[in-house]
Symmetry: C2
Subunit: 727 residues, 2 copies
């Protein structure tokens, strides 16, 4: 099926089989990286290294000759040796430079140390937990522990508020268990695969492209003797890895002599492995089902009902939040590539002839980093631009797509994603499905590089058409004309009597082929028949060409009155990988600062109150009944106000308790140090004010919910200087 | 494994294999129904029918004799025939009474009509949709459409507020894909099964107990000639259906000659079918996984980390909301028995020696319908009682269990469940696992009968012990003593030297068996050894009895100082079937009322604002630009206030628009009928007040969020009489 030659672009989100998966762990997109990596710097370094190596060999020979020559003086030999040593130093220096460049620059070590610090904190404070840990876990499965679970439900609640409620979207909730027919129609059963190789002796499975990629990266980083031409070849291979067929991948693996990493055994040829978890629905074993790889299909199959629910009006959007599943061959990259994850997807259905958006003007003036196709191809970098300009210049295909790009930008930055480390990257022509009008990914920079976290694609009518065809149920919209329109229509009328005489049993195939002609083909036939009286005509279903005579078919243009237009809507799909967004948020929110004593680094997550797992902690300064009663009173008021919080009545020092709460990203802390008023502290500034006990909960509520800011609080209430209670 | 002889009671929730599954579709619990159905009424009716049948036969014979006798006069014969006809009429009347009784009384027809009206409305307004409808669907899978999805997310948000936030629970979020080892430890791999039979020719699968149950019910309802003894036998069988082994079920199916319902082919013997959806994790095919049948296991395996997160303090509760899966053999009962559903589960970990609850007093005075074991067994019905009394009388096992029963009552009634159709039913002794301390189900009455929607079980230490054993990781808590305690401990010290001489290679087995003795057994042995010098001792692992002599083992009691107590916590588990609660809520909220013209019945859902899918609709009275602008202004204000709403600018009459919005359960409607003030209407009373345009959104917000009531609004704002704008 040609239609499925390219997968639906949303497959690329979180998927491993897509061109992007390579990119998401590199620092820049494919074409750009190919070019930028082959920069003058690296090339000249390799040249210099090779020159230095030749000079070194020549000088070595010279030293040997001098030593064996009786004519050479001691000073002459010493000078030659000195020159040799200088050359060795030079070579080492070039090697170090090249090595640093090949391991993605000097930032790598810092990035990994930073990531380790974040991940350690996240695991220690139970933001997440490797699932089934007491049974040694399962690769690619993670639990959200209590603070992670709160962050996740805050992110999802805000997503609902920002998209579903604000845009009056129709939210649905469909099962994860999906019958095969649905995923055949969508193309997943046939195409949702990665190429796999097996250790021929142990049966251990590997992703073929991962092995090749690891081999190439190691070659580039460790083998500094390869020429810049060879290095360029390897880098080209890396960049085009995902375009390779099973045969091409297999040939490369053979060519490089790649073996199983653990056993050094030979490997099988690569073959496709479907990434869906398969199961069986009902007891008979005859009804295959899969755990859905995305939530979108549940919306497409309901299009007809949803359109009717919306009063048979376009545009409208449906949305779904839910689990999706991908049985990765060998998951890597921690929380970024997992086997089960939460997706939040929007399918915005729109008339293909009118992709304007009524609220477009609300986002048109936003400015942020965008990275159009052209800039990627010409080796430039992402630039800060006004969203509206990209539409007027035709870079972003239409207003609705731009509207969602703008809304996604607002969503992510309000969560706390750093706008300097967020860019919208347009898909290159070869990344997009042939039917897609335009696709942009919201990419967030993390210690793993730029990570695609949201895909925003104009998928045209592809999905609805695929399900219409497979199910026989027309998933279409109607536009009723206010008054009938006169349209010119091509009419192809085969003359069955004449065709029957000429083609007998094959008549039906010929009739169908004639009726299926496109307008241009039919008009050409009409012209030929009029000029020559007959025409050769290929009937695919017969596998041969037949001769059509003038009396066998009537082709003409007719004027007709039409009362409505029936069409398949286009769909614009913003698709959010919630787990990836949350992981990037963790990295962007994390920082360390020295303790007051200066003897250790303390961890802080600077979550905005919107996503903070707990909004406030309440501490009695010392363990005494009066303070505990005040703390309990404030706790009750906070619960009544719907503000999540914790009381900490452990006897540890206030400094330690602050450190503990900062590490969870709790924005506010109330220290009960009198029975009439309390100290309220803000996490990042460590500023403190005094607030009456009765007011404490409502002050925290207002600043947490964004009715006021900390600056307002700071200017309203008396300041409390940092005392012994502070860290 | 004896421990798994009974399934964990939470299996019963939504499960089909449990004793309760039969009950949930009947109108009363097992023992009660057995007794109440065998009431004097039915029994005397059967007796009367049987008597009448005999009388009828006798009279028939009498008539025939008279007719054939030449001595009989016409009046005599006529009188005899008249008596015969009278008997026939009497018999028919008794038959009708018996039939009505057997089909659960006269309410059945009404209940089914009511259910049909609810379900039609729910499907038509897309509260739910059979999943993958355009592909003819899959039994037991349903989508929530837009209003259903809103109701669901409102219910879940309130659950989080009412339980997680209010009680400071630790919420976690674990994957659905679960490795086999976890579900082996929990007992699901071995025991989570239903008995199935196959059509021997076509292979079609049926639930064995369903076939037998259908047969018995039909026998009772249609065959009125059976004696009351026979009827009692059949009813006893129905009541004990779930206790039958595969062999017993098979024997009954053979005895009754039950065949495949569709084909009349013979059936296979019953065999167990595991209800978990099976899959394979990773590409090798060697790692079996299942879609979790409940969310609880994800919490148990994380106990150690969660306990540490809670500062190593008990009690604490963990909670999880998520999808669970059960591959039902043949789903029935619409939304009540499905293959994928949302569970919300709480695992409250507590010291088994102290099950008091600090907030118990907050619920102790609640009064509602409770149905203790004793009342069920003695054939009484549920009674309204004070919760605290059931604890003080020892009916409810402990304060914590009672606290959760009270909290569940508050949760369900605040959602809109009718408190007269909600009862808490205690499990009978034979429904509970042997390790369970006490179990109560929140049952809601629906057109299907009393439905178990929440299970609240004190499961003792069972689950944590099972995972400790399987994983080798100790899932325990410590209580540190403020000062060391002196405790008396039994010490069993086998004398290995002597044992080695006596038992050689078997020494190890004997040592282990001696050390494994329980206290009483060991003290008995000690006494026997002291009196007789030797004792016979069974060593299971050797499969034989050995002779233990006095010099082979030392048994004594020693006093030791202990600094802490290490123990496995008990767990109290409230487990909520969210889909079942929602379906019952739909039934309790639904009513009809005549339209103003009286020509049709209009459907209304009386959802409280808390769960209503949309809180408010905004209509311009007539289509004009000024009114539309006002409507848009109000819409914007509502969005800013976070109140979900819809604008309806279709030209249809206000009456029709009200009907449409009532049918979605929208509590408030704003009709824009001027540019300065608008009409605000409440759904159930149809009362209307006039509110300023600027105030409209905030009035709706306050009454929706419960800051004010409709009574407050009604007494504050000018009333608007019902005019042409009303329905």
């Amino acid at each position: 099926m040609l239609l499925l030659h390219k997968l639906r672009p949303s497959f690329t989100l979180l998927s491993s089989s897509s061109p992007l998966s390579f990119l998401s762990s590199s620092s820049s997109p494919r074409v750009y990286s190919t070019r930028s990596m082959a920069t003058v710097d690296e090339s000249s370094l390799r040249k210099a290294l090779s020159d230095k190596q030749s000079a070194l060999e020549a000088q070595g020979n010279a030293v040997r000759e001098l030593k064996s020559s009786s004519a050479a003086t001691k000073p002459e030999i010493d000078a030659a040796i000195e020159a040799l040593n200088a050359l060795k130093l030079d070579k080492s220096s070039i090697e170090r430079q090249l090595q640093a460049l090949m391991s993605n620059g000097e930032g790598t070590v810092n990035k990994e140390a930073f990531r380790q610090a974040v991940v350690n904190t996240l695991e220690r404070r139970l933001f997440y937990i490797p699932s089934f840990k007491i049974y040694r876990g399962v690769a690619g499965l993670y639990d959200y522990g209590p603070p992670g679970c709160s962050v996740k439900s805050n992110v999802l609640a805000f997503w609902r508020q920002h998209f579903v409620l604000e845009e009056n979207m129709l939210e649905v909730d469909c099962p994860c268990v999906t019958p095969e027919v649905v995923l055949k129609a969508s193309g997943h059963v046939e195409k949702f695969t990665d190429l796999m190789v097996k250790d021929e002796k142990t049966g251990t499975c590997y992703r073929a492209d991962h092995l090749l990629k690891d081999f190439c990266n190691e070659k580039l980083q460790k083998d500094l003797t390869i020429s810049s031409e060879k290095a360029a070849d390897i880098k080209h291979l890396l960049a085009t890895l995902d375009d390779l067929s099973a045969e091409e991948l297999g040939a490369k693996i053979k060519e490089f002599g790649i073996v199983a990493p653990d056993t050094k055994n030979p490997l099988s040829d690569p073959y496709p492995f479907n990434l869906m978890f398969q199961t069986s629905i009902g007891p008979s074993g005859s009804s295959t089902g899969y755990m859905r790889p995305e939530t979108a299909q549940g919306i497409f199959v309901n299009f007809r009902d949803l359109y009717y629910y919306n009063g048979s009006k376009l545009p409208f959007a449906a949305a779904q939040i839910g689990q999706a599943f991908r049985n990765e061959i060998s998951p890597r990259q921690g929380l970024l590539r997992v086997r089960e994850f939460t997706l939040a997807e929007i399918e915005h259905f729109v008339d293909p002839e009118d992709k304007s958006h009524p609220k477009y003007s609300e986002v048109a003036d936003l400015e942020f980093l965008m990275f159009p196709r052209q800039e990627q191809v010409s080796g430039e970098s992402a630039k800060r631009v006004r969203l509206g300009d990209t539409v007027s210049k035709g870079i972003v295909n239409n207003e609705t797509l731009a509207y969602f790009i703008g809304r996604v930008y607002l969503f992510l930055t309000r969560l706390g994603i750093d706008k300097e480390r967020l860019r919208f990257r347009q898909h290159l022509a070869n990344e997009m499905a042939h039917y897609a009008a335009d696709c942009w990914d919201a990419e967030i920079e993390s210690s793993y590089g730029w990570i695609e976290c949201v895909g925003i694609a104009d998928r045209s009518a592809y999905d609805l058409r695929a399900h219409s065809e497979k199910s026989g149920v027309q998933l279409v919209a109607q536009e009723k004309f206010s008054e009938p329109k006169e349209v010119e229509k091509l009419v192809i009328a085969p003359v069955k009597k004449e065709l029957g005489v000429a083609f007998k049993g094959s008549q039906k195939n010929v009739v169908e082929a004639l009726e299926a002609m496109k307008e241009k083909e039919a008009l050409d036939m009409k012209a030929t028949l009029e000029s020559k009286g007959e025409v050769e005509f290929e009937v695919c279903t017969l596998g041969k060409t037949v001769t059509i005579k003038k009396n066998m078919v009537n082709i003409k243009k007719e004027k007709k009155k039409e009362h409505q237009r029936v069409f398949t809507p286009s769909v614009i799909e913003p698709s959010f990988g919630i787990g990836r967004i949350i992981y990037c948020l963790f990295e962007h929110a994390f920082y360390t600062r020295p303790s007051k004593a200066g003897d250790e680094q303390l961890n802080v997550f600077r979550f905005p109150p919107l996503v903070a797992p707990i909004k406030c902690t309440v501490f009695p300064l010392v363990q005494n009944q009066k303070y505990e009663e005040v703390a309990k009173f404030i706790s009750k008021s906070l619960t009544a106000a719907g503000i999540s919080h914790r009381i900490d009545i452990t006897g540890t020092s206030i400094g330690k308790r602050y450190a503990r709460t900062d590490e969870l990203g709790v924005p506010f802390a109330i220290t009960v140090d009198s029975t009439t008023s309390v100290t309220l502290r803000e996490r990042d500034s460590k500023d403190q004010v005094r607030v009456d006990v009765e007011k404490a909960a409502s002050v925290v509520k207002d600043v947490t919910e964004g009715q006021t800011t900390w600056a307002d609080v700071w200017s309203t209430f008396p300041h409390q200087s940092s005392t012994a209670t502070d860290d």
